[in-house]
């Protein structure tokens, strides 16, 4: 290949575009351009690989065309159709298949040369990328299942679970040593992939649904690392740089997400967050009483209000209530009431998820406030309207040292003059923790689906 330097140049241009794209993605103003730049970099890298393949059988070109077309059609249709509320699990799914692709590439490389074996370093990296890719694949699928509510969101624990996971990890290590030390058995390599897949499942099962964003982010970093390691096997610059970048930046992003929740990564992975038995925390504070109001009674509270802060949570998202809430906001503003939205960094099921949903409903930026900006406003606020949020407004995070969410920054809605909580039922939040806010004297509960409640509230506001 005498045009080898042109190919390397193509990969270099792709890699530089990836780096510039990540830079632009750090700021809301330039983020969208950043994503386009990354896509352009990808197109250049893919165009370049097309020229680097050398001699290829016609039938292989057909296989490639079929697979690429199938992937493009499925990928673009599912990405376009998915509801904004289901974005987190969609990212998990795309990450999972990426991890699966890495593991398969490593496997095929291992199979390809039965006679001439891979050199030691590529061999080690092939084994590692197969393991990490498989873990990322199955772990992401479990994360998808939990977020899609195909399986319970609560941590799944069983006696001796940590021992079982440790044994499977030991099995993965044992199986990894064999190909590195000379075994060329393909069955054994497939067994390694299978065991690593099992390990991914066991690692994510004990983690609660509320922590899935962090898990997905970490597995995203894993897939990047695995893709970078696959770059060693193929001696491919695009993989080395693209994978290395994502592996490292994904880890930083994961740590930032943890710090937004005031938790350590270790605590997220091994803390079985949300597994605490309900009752642990209620017994101490069961003195309060729940005041359940009808929507009409709740609407009267707004009649004398001057300032309202809306606290949206995941309940709003699942009920698709964001558009009705926008209507409510307009109704209240028409009555001269000041309306603000308090967006907790982890409201929804992913950091930033709630901003996406509210933007979808055309609620403008200047109505949205971060935790730091708005917490001092609550004591002067007449009504705090909590819609389907729970853990992010739980005062136990401030006061109860025994609570698993102790120390997590929360929105101080309990300090508002009146708190109206719209909630499906008395069930605990996503993290599975009881909430004393609901028993407070200034709190009023309105039970029912968020969208139905908000629709009725909008109608009730017209009555007076």
């Amino acid at each position: 290949m005498n045009d080898h330097w042109l190919i390397e140049l193509g990969y270099l241009v792709g890699a530089v575009l990836f780096i510039l794209a990540l830079k632009l993605l750090n700021s809301p103003k330039t983020a969208r351009r950043g994503n386009w730049l990354a896509a352009l970099g990808m197109a250049i890298a893919l165009g370049t690989v097309g020229f680097s393949l050398g001699h290829v059988e016609t039938q292989n070109y057909i296989f490639i065309a079929v697979a690429v077309v199938a992937g493009t059609i499925i990928g673009s249709i599912s990405a376009k159709r998915v509801q904004m509320t289901a974005m987190p699990q969609m990212v998990a799914l795309f990450n999972g298949v990426g991890g699966g692709a890495v593991a398969l590439v490593a496997m095929i490389e291992f199979m390809a040369e039965p006679g001439e074996r891979l050199a030691p370093v590529p061999l080690v990296t092939a084994v590692l990328s197969a393991i990490i890719g498989s873990v990322s694949f199955s772990g992401s699928m479990i994360a998808f299942g939990k977020l899609q509510e195909i399986m319970p969101g609560k941590p799944i624990l069983y006696p001796g679970d940590k021992v079982v996971t440790a044994l499977v990890l030991a099995a993965v290590i044992a199986l990894a040593v064999l190909p590195i030390s000379g075994s060329t058995s393909i069955a054994l390599f497939a067994g390694l992939l299978g065991t690593a897949t099992l390990l991914g499942i066991l690692m994510v099962l004990p983690i609660g649904g509320a922590d899935m964003p962090v898990v997905i982010s970490l597995l995203n970093s894993f897939t990047g690392l695995a893709a970078g390691l696959a770059g060693f096997v193929l001696g491919n610059t695009a993989l080395l740089i693209g994978g290395g970048l994502v592996g490292a930046s994904g880890l930083i992003l994961t740590l930032q997400m943890c710090s937004a929740m005031n938790r350590s990564l270790e605590n997220v992975l091994f803390g079985a967050f949300g597994a605490a038995k309900s009752g642990d925390h209620t017994t101490a504070s069961a003195t309060g009483r729940i005041r359940s109001y009808s929507v009409e009674d709740a609407a009267i509270i707004f009649a004398s209000a001057r300032t309202v802060i809306v606290v949206p949570g995941y309940g709003l998202a699942v009920a698709q209530a964001q558009h009705v809430v926008k209507e409510l906001m307009e109704k209240l503003e028409a009555r001269g009431i000041q309306v603000k939205f308090a967006v907790h960094p982890v409201a929804g099921r992913m950091p930033g998820h709630m901003n996406v949903l509210l933007a979808e409903a055309d609620i403008s930026y200047d109505h949205l406030f971060d935790l730091d900006e708005i917490n001092s406003d609550f004591p002067e606020t007449d009504v705090a309207l909590v819609i389907g949020a729970n853990d992010v407004v739980n005062p136990a995070a401030r006061t109860d040292k025994s609570s698993p969410i102790y120390g997590m920054p929360i929105l101080d809605v309990d300090k508002a003059k009146t708190v109206i909580v719209s909630k499906r039922g008395m069930g605990a939040g996503f993290a599975g923790i009881e909430n004393e806010l609901f028993l407070q004297e200034n709190t009023v509960m309105v039970f029912g689906d968020a969208k139905a409640t908000m629709t009725k509230l909008v109608a009730a506001l017209d009555e007076f």
């Binding site: 690989v49 697979a67 893709a227």
Partner: protein, 100 residues
């Protein structure tokens, strides 16, 4: 490429990755994750190389699955990210509304 060149490229890429993410506002956490997710779809480059040179049926089948998976990762990843970021654009005069 010699091994040391390969290692050098990878290590430098990792360091760029560590440095490039500054303090990202939480609003961008999900889109950034989604965009980096699409970027690791660059494994499609690897999947294309192995499928192009696959001979046995097993290699072809696994290679095709790998290419489909990686394409899903790339296409889905970029489209989903763009949809999220589209929401964030400032709209002083809302054009035709797609979502109602």
């Amino acid at each position: 490429m010699t091994l040391i060149v390969v290692i050098t490229i990878f290590v430098l890429a990792v360091f760029v990755g560590l440095e490039i993410i500054t303090k990202v506002p939480p609003i961008l956490h999900t889109p950034l994750m989604s965009a980096t997710n699409a970027i690791h779809g660059v494994i499609l480059v690897g999947a294309l190389i192995v499928l192009a040179h696959a001979h046995s049926t097993a290699e072809i089948v696994l290679g095709m699955i790998a290419v489909v998976f990686a394409t899903l990762n790339v296409v889905g990843g970029f489209v989903v990210t763009d949809r999220m970021l589209e929401m964030f654009k400032k709209r002083p005069d809302p054009p035709e509304k797609k979502h109602e």
